[in-house]
Amino acid sequence: MSQYKELNISPVGRVEGDLDVKVYMEDGRVTRAHTQASMFRGFEEIMVGKDPQSGLIVTPRICGICGGSHLYCASSALDTAWKTTLTPNALLLRAIGQATETLQSIPRWFYAIFATDMANKKFANKPLYEEVTKRFSAYVGTSFQSGLTASALPVEIYAIFGGQWPHSSYMVPGGVMCAPTLKDVTRAHGILNHFRNRWLEPKLLGCSIERYMEIQSWDDLMEWVEENESQRNSDLGLFIRAGMEFGLDKFGEGVGKFLAYGTYLHKDKYNTPTIEARNNAVISPSGFFDGNNFHNFNHMDIEEHVDHAWYENVKPAHPWDQPIPTPVESKNLEDTDFSGKYSWSKAPRYDGYAAETGPLARVIMSGNPNNLDHQFKDPLFLDIINQKGPSVFTRVLGRLHEAPRIYTQINKWLGQIDLDQEFYIKPEERDGRGFGATEAARGALAHWIDIEDGVIKNYQVMAPTTWNIGPNDSKGNPGPIESALEGTEIEDPHDPVEVGMVARSFDSCMVCTVHAHDGKSGEELSRFKL
C-alpha cells in the first residue's frame, strides 16, 4: 500500500500554468527527477497572420509577473526588424520599466514564495529557527507584511510612465508612448525614496546602500554580516546566517552553466538598434559562463528540443527556423511515460548545453573581467561561485543582492530623462526578422519575430522558466531543475522539503507540485504543492 500525504509547504507565484515535478528517491537521495509543465495556451499560434505589432499586446499577457519584460522584448524585436531609431529618453524609460518590475519581484518573491519555507518544521531544531519563524512566517511574520507592501511601490513608478502594472504596452517600436513631465519624474523619485526608507535599508540591509555595495568578496560579505547588530539582524543578515545554519548552501547545485541575455540598453549606445550591437549596449551584461570561462552571448547558438515535449517532432532548431509547434496528446502525471513526451515546455539548449538562467546568472556575468565601462562590474558572485559553488543559498543571495543595485540605477536613469527631447520617433513598417531580449526578474527572456507581407509569419517566445524547468533534451540530458534535484539528500522521505526549496530557488513562474516516489518500488511517498 502506498503511503501518501501532501504537505502544503507554501504557495508560489504561478503564471503560465502548473508545474509538476516527479522525483525518485533511494537511500535518502533523489536519483532522478522529471519536470512537467501541464498547461498549454498556444499564444505563438494566435499571433501568426496578425498585425506585426500584436506582440505588444499579446506577449505581456503571457505572464502577469513578467509582462514588462515581455514588452521590452516585443518592442526590441520590432526595433531590430523595422530598423527604428531610439532616443536616449526612450531607452531610459524602457529600462526604468524593466527595472521597476524586477525590483517589485525581489521582496514579493523572497517573502511570499521563498522565505516561508525556512519556517518549515524541518528546521525546528536549529538555533535560529525561532527568529526565522517570527520574521518569515506567511502573513503573520513581522517582515512578511512589510515586504509584501513594499513590493507594490516600484510598480507605482511603472504605472506613472506606462499607465498601469501589470499589462501595459507603453514600449513601442521607435520609443515609448509617454511623454512625462517634471511632476512625473519627481513623483517617481519620491516613491523610490519610500521604497528605500521603508524596506530596502531598514529591513533588508540594515545599513546604507553605499555601505552594502562596498562588498567585493565572500570574506567581505561575512565581515559585513558581523560588523554590527543592525546588519546581523537585517533580513539579509538573518537569511545569510540561517541559510548556512540550515544547510541551504549544501544542495541544489544544478548544471553549473549559466546564461544571461543581459538588459538595460544604454541610452547612448543603442540608438540604431541592431542584433549585433546589443551585447555591447546592455548595462547588465550578457554572456555564457561554462563553470570556468566566460563566452560572448550569441542568440544563434540557441536551439530548442521537442523530443520530450508534447509537440510534433522536429529537429532541434534555432527559434527563427522552428515551425509554430503542433500540440500532440498530453497526459496527466500519473499516466505519463517519462521515456517519451512529458511536458508542454520545450528544452532549450545553448551551444548544446542546458544552462541555468536567473539572478545568479546575472550577478555572475557582472564579474566578467571584460565588462565594458558602462556595464556592471561586481566580482562578488564569481568569488562566491568559486568558494561555495551554486546552491539554493547562492541563488537566493544573488536575487537579494540585485535590489540595491537596481534601486541605484533607477534613480540615476530618472535623473537622466531630458524633458526637452523626444520620446518617440515614428518608424517605417517593413518585413524582416527581429530579435528582442531582456532579463526578466527570473532570468533570460527573448522573442524572435519574422514579418512577411506586413503580417507575422513566425513568432517564438523563450521564457526563463523554459530554460530552467525544461525537460530532457534529445540526447537525454536533464534540464537545470531536473539536474539540481538529482543527488539532493532528503532527511525525511515523507517530508522532502529540500526538493521544494530547490525547485523554488529557481522561481519558476508556475505553481509547482512535487511528487516524490520510491526509486525502487516506484510507489508514491509524498506529494506537496509549492
Binding site: 504557495p11 498549454f40 502594472w165 499589462h167 508612448m177 509617454c178 496528446e329
Partner: protein
C-alpha cells in the same frame, strides 16, 4: 465571513498580480478584517492542511462550504473538448470547475480570459478556450446561459486585462458582508458600479476629444482616439476615476485604451492595421464611433467640428493647441 477558493485555468496570473497590489483594503486586510477566508489560492493560499484535491472533493460533498469561487483564466476545452491541455490535480481543470460551480454560493470570473475568453480565444483559438458564461459577446460560454449559482446570481464578471484590484476586493467584500444585493449587474454581468461610465470619464484629454485635436505617441496632450486607436469613448470602466497602482491610467500616460473591459478584447482579433491604429471608414472616418452615437450622426457632427476647426484656423491663423507643458 465567506469561504473563498481561487483557481486559475488558461491564465497568466496577471489578475492575481494586480490583486496583490490592492490597498483599500489590502489582500492581508481582506483576510484579517473583512472576513474573507481564503481556502486556497495558487499564489497566496495558506494553511489549507490538506491537499488541494482533497479540499475540492470535500467542497463537492458539501463538507466544506464554498461561498465564493473565483476563477481566473480561460476555460481550456482543447483538444477536441477533452480539456487535456490544462490538467489540474490530475484532471482537466474544466471538470473541476463544472462540479465546483454547482455547489458554490457565488461564482466570480476575474479578467477577460475568465469572463469572455480573452486572448487565448482569439482565432484560431488553439486551446478551444471560452469564458465562464460568455464567449466574446455571446452569452453561454462554458457554464451555459441559464447558469445561476446557489446564491441566485449568474457568473459575476469582473473583466479587464487585468481587472483593477479594487474592483475585485470590493465585490468580494460585498459578498462577505452580505451586501451583494447592492451590486447590480449589466447585460454582460458586470457590476454596474464600475462599468457604467466610460474610460473617457476623467481622462485629461477629454477636451482634445471634443475639439478633435489629435494626440500621438511621445507627445504631451491631444486625444488618442483619432489616430492611435484609443477606445476610451466606447469602453465602460472606471480607470480614470479609480486610478491604477494609485498613480495613473493608460490614457493619463498617453497610452490608448485597449477596450479591455468590453467583450471581444483584443478587438478586431489583432488583424493587420488594428493595433495602435484607428481603423478607418472611407480612409478618414473612425470605423468604431463613441458609444451612444449613430455612425451617421457622429460623422456629421465630427465632420462639422473638424471643418469649423479649419475655418477657425483660417480666420484666426491659429489652430487650437492642447499641448501641455513639461
Amino acid at each position: 465571513m465567506a469561504n473563498l477558493l481561487w483557481l486559475q485555468g488558461g491564465a497568466c496570473s496577471g489578475n492575481t498580480m494586480s490583486f496583490l497590489n490592492a490597498e483599500e483594503p489590502t489582500v492581508v486586510e481582506l483576510v484579517t478584517d473583512f472576513g474573507v477566508n481564503i481556502l486556497w489560492h495558487p499564489s497566496i493560499g495558506l494553511e489549507i492542511g490538506d491537499q488541494v484535491s482533497d479540499l475540492m472533493e470535500s467542497i463537492k460533498k458539501g463538507e466544506t462550504e464554498l461561498d465564493i469561487l473565483v476563477y481566473e483564466g480561460s476555460i481550456i476545452q482543447g483538444p477536441n473538448g477533452t480539456g487535456g491541455m490544462n490538467f489540474f490535480a490530475e484532471r482537466p481543470m474544466m471538470d473541476w470547475i463544472k462540479e465546483l460551480s454547482e455547489v458554490a454560493g457565488f461564482v466570480v470570473a476575474i479578467g477577460d480570459c475568465a469572463t469572455w475568453g480573452g486572448i487565448p480565444a482569439v482565432p484560431p483559438n488553439p486551446t478551444e478556450s471560452t469564458g465562464m458564461q460568455f464567449l466574446k459577446k455571446d452569452k453561454g460560454g462554458f457554464l451555459g446561459k441559464d447558469y445561476v449559482s446557489k446564491g441566485g446570481l449568474p457568473v459575476i464578471n469582473i473583466p479587464g486585462c487585468p481587472a483593477h484590484p479594487d474592483w475585485v476586493t470590493q465585490i468580494l467584500v460585498a459578498i462577505s458582508t452580505g451586501r451583494i444585493g447592492d451590486v447590480l449587474l449589466d447585460e454582460y454581468h458586470r457590476p454596474k458600479t464600475f462599468f457604467t461610465d466610460f474610460v473617457q470619464t476623467g481622462c485629461p484629454n477629454a477636451v482634445s476629444f471634443a475639439q478633435k485635436v489629435d494626440g500621438h505617441f511621445g507627445k504631451r496632450g491631444g486625444c488618442l482616439f483619432y489616430e492611435v486607436g484609443c477606445r476610451g469613448p466606447m469602453t465602460r470602466a472606471s480607470c480614470n476615476r479609480i486610478l491604477w497602482n494609485r498613480q495613473s491610467s493608460k490614457t493619463r500616460a498617453n497610452h490608448p485604451c485597449l477596450g479591455c473591459t468590453e467583450p471581444g478584447f483584443p478587438h478586431n482579433d489583432l488583424v493587420k492595421g488594428s493595433v495602435f491604429k484607428t481603423m478607418k471608414y472611407l480612409g478618414f472616418l473612425p470605423k468604431d464611433v463613441p458609444s451612444g452615437h449613430s455612425k451617421v450622426g457622429y460623422y456629421a457632427r465630427a465632420g462639422f467640428e473638424k471643418v469649423m476647426g479649419t475655418a477657425e484656423e483660417l480666420v484666426s491663423g491659429k489652430r487650437p493647441q492642447f499641448e501641455s507643458s513639461k
